[in-house]
Amino acid sequence: MKAGLFIATAVLYALACILYLLLLTRGAERARRLPGTVFVAALGAHIAFLLLEGPSTHELPLADMSQILSISSFGIGIAFLLASYRFDVTILGAFVAPLSLMLFLASGLGSSYAPVSPPVQSAVLTLHIGANVLGLVAFALAFAAGLAYLVQERLLRRRQLSGVFQRLPSLDVLDTMSLRAVLVGFPLLTFGMITGTFWLLRSDGSQFFVSQALGLVAWAIFAGVIVLRVAAGWQGRKAALGTMMGFLFTLLVLAGYALRAAAEGG
């Protein structure tokens, strides 16, 4: 049952990816709503899957790596639906859906992830993970908008103005969306960093050194992007590049934890 639901969710995500990409590259006018519908179906299957494997009562939520990845994937999907309602950027599904799919598949390797051992569990840890997951979700949207901005800008400079250029949103919308997502994600990331450090100090946590360093780099990048944007009026390509870089570093942090958990679990 669980495995079946996992496969169904993954297949729906993959199908949504393909349909979104087709909509972007081919512009199937008649099937404009189809990718979104499939994506919502994937989210539906995903929520069923989450409920099915939900945490047992004696375990804190978000306590193992598999769940964190799964919830992040789901959160990105939900946030994207909200954003596309707000900004009319449905077509960005072509960039968001692959992210969802990737994280969901990574969560499926979860059998090999060891749950965090009970002694290190605490409310602070839950706060730390929750804030970071939400931050990751916001940065994922910023990443998708930034990537779309780069594509769009390149097409504009190369004078390739039919097809994809017509279907992607305007540069202004993409830039605004990316900025807002970073502005939402950054406080969450900051809070996550503080709670993480706090928790680390309480347990003997020197072992997380690499992930921490990566997290700090991501934080610094986002801080830089925000400062340059707000203080120096930065816009466009460089801001998009910075945002994407920051997101990649947050992914690296996540990957670091996942690898460690896998090593411990294996």
Binding site: R157, R159, S170, D172, G236, R237
Partner: protein, 452 residues
Amino acid sequence: MRDFVLVGLSHRTAPVEVRERLAVPRDRLGEELREIAASGRFDEALLISTCNRVELYATSSDPIDAAKRARDALAARLLDFAAEDALYQERGVDAVRHVFRVASSLDSLVVGEPQILGQVKEAFDAAKGAGTVGTLLGRCFTQAFATAKRVRNETGIAQGTVSVSSIACELAKKIFGNLEGRRTLLLGAGEMGESAARSLRQTGTQLHVINRSEDRAHSLAESCGGRAVPYERLTLELAEADVVIASTASPKFILTPEMMKGVVRSRRHRPLFIIDIAVPRDVDPRVGNMDNVFVYDVDDLQQVAEENLSVRAREASLAESIVEEELGAFVTWRRSLELAPTIVALRKRFAEVAEQELRRALPRLDGVKDSDRAVLEAMSRSMVNKLLHQPMTQLKAGAGEPDGALLIDAVRRLFALSEEDAGAKEASTEGSGEAKVTQLTTAAAGSSGDST
């Protein structure tokens, strides 16, 4: 045989000075039509008058002569013999194809523009109001509207726009999203620049005009609804504008990288879209390499327009095939109104009934000899012939009359003779269906002698 006639002129054949002489204001359309129909002795008449075309559609049982009269009617209004060359004429199926193409916006100046369909509908309503539309024009235009609808729904011809101004607007929208409240700076007073600025103004941007000659700047600003700014303020204006349209007559670059570096800094990297439609160019191409500055020159715009056009050409050929399809359907209907196939079909229908009844009756008679059988067969045949004699005579007589088509239509309906029937019969009786189509095109020399 009644057939279609079209005489007119359009943007393809005549400049605006000539077209405006023929144009008929909307409120006078009905009156004018009645006059034309009466003086030209047309059975039906319809007049389309837009800023790009004036066309008179008519039907008459003598199409060749009618075409001449229609041409004279329009030429008389032109008051200029030289301009008469601008008048084109079509007859038969070519005239019908022309209406279908006009209504589908395939003959428009900007192919795919949506207004023309409404204008044709207006012309149709006016003609109906004037009582100059009958069976043929009625069916023809109704099908033209259906064709236009199919073309719009089934092809991409109505999407995308082509002129340089509209491309400038489209690009600006793709960069800035909403243009409301953005600022356009018109630099120089070229004509193309003016029209681009005007279209941008219509999308809700503010417009500032800057020019070496301040008088010119003032008059331009006034006519476009913008604000004139002194030339000394150029760098300041550049820092505040979102879209710059450069169209000065300057022989060398006005916007240089050195100058723009300061501008970009003072505008804090906000995106700037520069449209350089001046020849020679006003903007150093290196400016286009700067971050958040996008420069499009005339060639770029032209290239975009041509790409757009080639997309349209593809869509247009699709649209043409829809027109031909609908035309085929119309010709089938039209052919069903012709006398010969109707008579053949009518005869066949009667003969079939007689034959059926005979076949059913014969087995019930005991010991019918072959000679008796022959008598019975002869009797049923002659009965059919007698019964058909009067209707046939009337049909043949009516063929020359204006309402001949109506009569044929009535007979077809009374005896349920389908349109396809007519086509099939004809193909079998006359060898090829093509013959009738060409007859429609060449209008059979106008004689009603095809009532064989």
